[in-house]
């Protein structure tokens, strides 16, 4: 009971301050759309090429912009020493972690949807073939990024060179997620000659399940130091 209350309180608090300050969301949305824009300059105007690599590009944009969001979400706690009080007052560190994960998940999901739209317009992509598959890929992929990202942000928060450490540690961990998410997205967007997206979705789900459990179990020593 206390666990749920703590979880929702953290989630609500983060959402509320984000909605009032709009620091993360504004930066991220701008960043995402800007990168999509830059890609079309860097890769030339060959529409076939852009179409072919757009699922990969989309997930790369999400990966890079989520690092910004994750770092920011813990940096905000470091200001004014909020993290100390958060840890001392919270009835459960795990609820704290899950609450923060939930907010980050929402932020990443919003950026993902907006970036995907920007990409469809700028790259002239056709409407997705398989909409439920696409939605599932977005949800599961973003959940995984949020879980591991929040964990790694908590890990690197008090180290030197924090902003360099976070992607260095996080990105190799996310490779299975990136692979499955890109393939599922690709299948959903254009259909495939060979594959169905189902197996990739189950791999995403398994990945999320494993790390949601493992990170929740292992978070306490990170926040307590």
């Amino acid at each position: 009971m206390n666990f749920l209350r703590c979880f929702f309180a953290v989630f609500y608090k983060d959402l509320l301050s984000e909605l009032r300050q709009k620091e993360i969301l504004n930066t991220l949305l701008f960043f995402g759309v800007l990168i999509v824009f830059l890609f079309s300059f860097a890769l030339g105007t060959d529409p076939g090429l852009l179409k072919k690599i757009s699922p990969g590009l989309l997930w790369l944009v999400i990966l890079f912009s989520s690092v910004l969001a994750l770092d920011r979400s813990f940096q905000a706690e470091l200001e004014e020493g909020c993290l100390d009080h958060l840890v001392l007052y919270a009835s459960s560190q795990r609820a704290l972690f899950l609450g923060k994960t939930a907010t980050n998940f929402c932020a990443i999901l919003i950026v993902q949807v907006v970036t995907a739209f920007a990409m469809m317009i700028l790259f002239d992509l056709p409407a997705p073939d398989d909409f439920p598959l696409l939605a599932a890929a977005f949800l599961l992929g973003d959940l995984g990024i949020a879980v591991l990202g929040t964990f790694y942000a908590a890990l690197t928060i008090k180290t030197r060179a924090r902003q360099a450490m976070l992607p260095l540690l996080l990105f190799p961990m996310l490779i299975p997620l990136l692979l499955s998410a890109v393939y599922a997205t690709q299948t959903a967007m254009e259909g495939s000659l060979t594959n169905s997206g189902g197996s990739w979705l189950s791999l995403l789900a398994i990945y999320d399940l494993i790390f949601l459990t493992a990170c929740t179990l292992a978070i306490e020593p990170l926040l307590e130091t």
Binding site: L155, T156, P172, M173, P176, L179, Y207, P221
Partner: protein, 221 residues
């Protein structure tokens, strides 16, 4: 005594390599190139073993922590994890280089996005990240506390990485088993696997001693 062990191990290692290079038949398809296997495969096996040691040591650190906050015992597990990670990274690097050299004549490319090669490369990145993370935390106790969950998490990712990459591209042959190999080759491979195991244990022991001296030196300051 310590030096004798080291010398014996290295003689055994050299013998195993010599055996693999000269006393086994060449492969029907690949010819003499196949003999890279006697260094490549044992290095790969033993690097996995080293990473498993990191995993176990990290778990041991976390479990011990809850029972009794006694720094000395915790530091043992922490140093063990660190030394095993270092040796594992070196062996993984060796595996990658040898695999690349083997791949050029057999597959026609230096690097291919094959499942096992790619998995090994990701492993390499993950554990290099683990080691560099340790470098960025100054306080030894804090470092131990933070690195332990990381060591566990990275190892949990290994099977997922393996399966995802395997589905992504599969070119590497199915795992060989003794029944698909010539007995002379199996023998040489086993011999070399034990030789590498000896080197692995010796290196971990040495790195552990260095880490211990270092922190003793720090404490004396």
């Amino acid at each position: 005594m310590r030096y004798i062990t080291a010398v014996v191990l290295f003689i055994f290692f050299a013998f195993a390599q010599w055996w693999g290079l000269t006393q086994t038949p060449p492969d029907a398809m690949m010819g003499e190139v196949q003999k890279i296997m006697y260094a490549h495969v044992p290095a790969a096996w033993n690097s996995f073993l080293a990473f498993f040691v990191v995993f176990i040591a990290s778990i041991a650190f976390l479990i011990r922590k809850k029972r009794r906050p006694e720094p000395a015992e915790g530091m043992f597990w922490d140093r063990l994890a660190r030394s095993a990670a270092e040796v594992g990274v070196v062996l993984t690097g060796l595996t990658l280089c040898l695999g690349s050299i083997w791949g050029r004549p057999t597959w026609g490319v230096w690097w291919t996005w094959d499942a096992r090669l790619t998995t090994t490369a990701i492993l390499f990145f993950l554990y290099v990240g683990y080691l560099s993370f340790r470098k960025f935390v100054d306080n030894p106790e804090r470092r131990a506390k933070l690195a332990a969950p990381l060591g566990v998490l990275i190892f949990l990712n290994v099977p997922i990485v393996y399966f995802s990459v395997k589905w992504w591209r599969t070119l590497h042959q199915v795992q060989s088993s003794p029944s698909t190999m010539d007995p002379a080759m199996v023998l040489a491979l086993r011999l070399n696997a034990f030789a590498f195991l000896g080197v692995l244990i010796l290196f971990i022991y040495w790195r552990y001693q260095i880490a211990k001296r270092k922190s003793e030196h720090e404490e004396a300051l």
